[in-house]
């Protein structure tokens, strides 16, 4: 045993093994990397990318200005200024909606918190900018992201399900209303 080890160290046995391994990879050229900007890796379905604000299919904003996303956000990315819809005192909307994406950690808690599913996480991730201030997004920019990332839009809540119209809330397992 000792002799075997001695001979092995004499002929650089372990180094030869390692070199065999590298040569195997050299001869079987199968790269696992992608030429990134040209070829992009398919992202998983639930990828949490750039945040965007969504609209209904009649181009009205989903957001009702409830501030729940602001409350849910752990890094205080979101700032919502809520206001009444002019002429419709029962409805509210977000007059201002700003996101400071320099702080965002893409946890998706705002999306979960939203009662009307007004926020969505797109598959966009190439948001490198030269100026940090370009990452302070206002409502128009967020809506634009939502528009291009989610071209399929939902109907207004009151048209989705007869029950939802009463609650203005989209619970999944909402009990059937009895008339």
């Amino acid at each position: 045993m000792k002799l075997k080890k001695w001979i092995q160290s004499l002929i650089f046995y372990e180094i030869l093994l390692g070199m065999k391994e590298t040569l195997k990879h050299f001869l079987k050229y199968r790269p696992i990397t992608l030429e990134y900007p040209h070829v992009k890796k398919p992202l998983p379905e639930n990828y949490r990318g750039m945040l965007g604000l969504l609209r209904y299919d009649d181009d009205t904003e989903k957001c009702v200005g409830c501030d729940l996303c602001e409350a849910a956000c752990p890094s205080r990315v979101i700032r919502v200024v809520s206001a009444e819809v002019p002429g419709e005192p029962t409805k509210r909307y977000a007059k201002e909606y700003d996101m400071d994406m320099t702080r965002c950690l893409f946890c998706g808690m705002c999306v979960q918190a939203c009662p009307v599913d007004a926020l969505g996480m797109s598959q966009e991730f190439e948001w490198a900018v030269y100026d940090k201030r370009n990452l302070h997004l206002n409502k128009e920019q967020l809506l634009a992201i939502g528009d291009r990332a989610f071209p399929e839009r939902e109907k207004r809540l009151e048209f989705q399900h007869p029950n939802v119209a009463y609650f203005n809330v989209s619970f999944e397992d909402i009990p059937e209303k009895e008339f």
């Binding site: 070199m19 590298t22 990879h25 050299f26 199968r30 790269p31 696992i32 990397t33």
Partner: protein, 353 residues
């Protein structure tokens, strides 16, 4: 006067051709190394410039050429600019004695001219060893003149390493010199004519120099500061070692010198141990006047094999620790090289060819 000018013109054109090939090989090697390394590591390597990235050396060269040349504050300006030249010139000058084809002497307008070696001096091996040692001065001076602790540490490490391993290179060659009876690289090549069984690495009588070849290979990897002996430029410890502070063309000089040294060492292994331009089997050699075609072909193949070996080592082996390097050089390689000299000389005395 006429003869002198003819001789000058011939020699200059020959030097130009050899330098051109060497520098071209350096450019090719920069790409080849990245490609080989990345293939071994399951990557693609450079793919952007040209088809499959083949024009990458051009892009690299242009980039380095147009980079700002920074001399750090507190640096010794004269030595700082001298160091890259001291490193590069000895690396290139060694090719003057490398024979890359048959030892012919042709007569051009009454001037004797050897087309396949720039100058066949009878102490060729000594000449190369002497000049490669001068390259170490450039490394040390560059490290010292940069006024940076990383550079200084890299330079000092390089000095210690070169002194330790130069000795092993020299002693490993002694066996070959004993067998061939000459210091001229042309005559050493001539002594290995015939098939691969006549090459000194495999020559059964009086004693195969394969052990000496392994010692020479390891020591020459250490001398060119390549992985696994790249302590002078250890990226993870010393940023870039002795050329940390260099930028632009000066950095390119160090870079070219490293690759030129690799080519030189590969040429030396080819000439000393692997029969130079001789084909492994006699029937693979073109007959008569066309022997130089296969000669240059086989020489290139062998040199590129050794260059590939350098990249292969780099892809496989981790860096040695400093004490391991010193222990390996002095306690392992040196006794083996000395033993090889003793055994070879005894056997060469008992069984003279």
């Amino acid at each position: 006067m006429f003869e002198t000018s003819i001789k000058l013109a011939l020699t200059l054109s020959q030097i130009g051709a050899v330098m051109g090939v060497v520098l071209l090989t350096v450019a090719v090697l920069t790409l080849l190394e990245r490609k080989v390394l990345s293939w071994m590591q399951d990557r693609m390597g450079p793919m952007e410039v040209g088809p499959y990235g083949v024009l990458q050396p051009v892009a690299d060269g242009l980039k380095l050429f147009f980079k700002e040349d920074i001399i750090p504050a507190g640096a010794n300006k004269i030595l700082f600019s001298l160091a890259p030249i001291i490193v590069l010139v000895p690396a290139l000058i060694g090719f003057a004695v490398i024979p890359f084809g048959p030892n012919w002497t042709i007569d051009v307008l009454g001037v004797e001219f050897k087309p396949f070696v720039i100058s066949d001096i009878n102490i060729g091996v000594l000449y190369i060893l002497a000049f490669t040692s001068i390259g170490a001065y450039g490394v040390i001076l560059g490290g010292w003149a940069s006024n940076s602790k990383y550079s200084l540490l890299g330079g000092l490490r390089s000095a210690a390493q070169l002194i330790s391993y130069e000795l092993n290179v020299g002693l490993a060659i002694v066996g070959v010199l004993l067998l061939s009876g000459s210091l001229s690289l042309v005559e050493i090549t001539e002594a290995q004519a015939g098939g691969f069984w006549n090459w000194f690495a495999f020559d059964p009588l009086p004693f195969p120099q394969f052990i000496a070849f392994v010692v020479f290979l390891i020591a020459s990897v250490a001398e060119t500061n390549r992985v696994p002996f790249d302590l002078p430029e250890a990226e993870s410890e010393l940023v870039a070692g002795f050329f940390t502070e260099y930028s632009g063309m000066r950095f390119a000089f160090f870079f070219m010198a490293e690759y030129a040294n690799m080519i030189l060492v590969s040429c030396m292994s080819t000439v000393l141990f692997f029969g130079g331009w001789h084909a492994p089997f006699p029937f693979l050699q073109a007959p008569g006047n066309f022997v130089w075609v296969t000669g240059i072909f086989w020489f290139t193949v062998k040199v590129y094999f050794f260059l590939f070996l350098f990249f292969w080592f780099r892809a496989t082996l981790p860096r040695l620790r400093y004490d391991q390097l010193m222990r390996f050089g002095w306690k392992v390689l040196l006794p083996i090289a000395l033993g090889n000299v003793v055994v070879t000389s005894l056997l060469a005395y008992i069984f003279p060819n």
